[in-house]
Symmetry: C2
Subunit: 272 residues, 2 copies
């Protein structure tokens, strides 16, 4: 039964690798405790879950510390989707860097892409940065290009759902577009992710499965809201895309900064 | 009074140049008819308006005929915003090319970017292409990059709001991003616009005013709908951006195709 439920949980996010990792940790615990009573097993699993959450908090904090050196006074930072405190047990990955810079009293501004279709940027990132007193401006995903072309963005920081051995990075749909725009406008593009997000079993991004999601996310603004696209329209709704390593200036991990991004540097940081 | 109303109408779309052109035509008529009775003036202005509409229909049709040669059998075409029958008196500009290709029995498919914030792609383009029996698939703006990287787009066609003397083109926000993605993925990028969209008084796109619009377009999905971003969040909502001439493969006009896109070729086509 536990195996079945574990497989079900893992199937909910085929692209991301951290959930799979955490579920595997829990399953290992459950299997190691085989034979104990249900109550005792529950307590052991709860303890393990708390340990994973604490580990996540520490990883987030370490990413922040390694990444804060990228934030200079007066910078305008653009982020896509939510890789913050609302997406992790700690301060987040991309946003942890901003929280650490804030603790270091560095002044900076943030542009948050709204991140269609599910608007994590509008609903989550803008909210948590405002709540933390960070100067944040919400933009449509379509405005990121204009901002960069008008030299209003000095740095891009995003999170990651899975990073292949060569550095190709799967993240929320639209991240690849932001990376191409950053390259074209000579804006450094950072990925922030813990070592557990690396999947060294995968040679490149081509092997990362991309989750396809419901058409209703695109044809309706939110569940229960009126439709905004014609009845019966065909929809293509990939939830993630892959940014090739060549577009990534550096990957900030809890163990340190990988730069330049290539297989050798990744192996050294993650395995060594 | 007419001058005042004309200035008011023109101020409603500072970026686009075609409305300004049409209002000026109407004002010229009104001034030429100075002294006639109100009823007669109304009739003259209505006649002029019908003439402008008929001219627009012919321009759209001519753009379609010049552009259809770009559409090859089996092509997947991506478009952004709405430059179709719902935006012009005729078949549109970008979409006129598709309607002409359909009349020529060329088989093709279309991806329509939804085009946040106002969703002209979802609400207008998808609707009118479906109504015309063209195979259209709706995508979030964020998915355009993935489509191009996965070689699922053979051609991009967009309209234009104003084209400077050097070919820099203002169009709906996000068009620049699509053009950068097209260039990075070696996908031809076409602009379709009548000669009246060229503003030869402007040397480059830097001189085109960009209309800034209400934050509510970004914080609420549609007027009267619940908000989807935190109360009080700062918003930057430019309605247009400028695509530099260097990213444009060709401009399809009612007079012919400008390719390559540069000042000399534009002067020759537009001024004779």
């Amino acid at each position: 039964l536990i195996r079945e439920k574990g497989a079900y949980l893992k199937s909910s996010r085929p692209t991301a690798v951290n959930l799979e990792w955490a579920v595997d940790e829990m399953m290992r615990t459950a299997i190691a405790e085989r034979g104990v009573g249900v109550r005792q097993l529950q307590q052991r699993l709860l303890k393990e879950a708390h340990a994973i959450a604490e580990q996540d908090r520490l990883m987030c904090r370490a990413i922040g510390k390694h990444g804060a050196a990228f934030i200079k006074s007066g910078m305008r930072v653009l982020t896509h989707c939510n890789a913050g405190a609302l997406a992790t047990a700690g301060d987040g990955t991309a946003l942890s860097i901003l929280y650490e810079a804030q603790r270091q009293k560095i002044a900076f501004e943030v542009y948050a892409d709204e991140t269609r279709p599910l608007l994590q940027g509008a609903r989550l990132t803008a909210w948590e940065l405002m709540a933390s007193g960070i100067d944040v401006t919400l933009v449509c995903d379509n405005a990121a290009g204009l901002l960069m072309r008008e030299k209003k963005v000095d740095l891009v920081i995003v999170g990651a759902d899975r990073i292949a051995r060569n550095g190709d990075t799967a993240n929320k749909i639209g991240t690849y577009s932001v990376a191409v725009l950053a390259k074209a406008n000579e804006v450094p593009f950072l990925v922030a992710a813990p070592a557990t997000t690396f999947d060294l079993s995968i040679a490149s991004g081509a092997a990362i499965p991309i989750e396809q999601r419901d058409a209703a996310e695109v044809t309706h603004f939110a569940p229960g809201q009126p439709r905004t696209a014609p009845e019966g329209v065909q929809v293509f709704n990939p939830a993630f895309d892959v940014t090739p390593a060549g577009l990534i200036t550096a990957i900030v991990t809890d163990r340190g900064v990988i730069r330049p991004v290539n297989e050798k540097a990744i192996q050294k940081m993650i395995n060594g």
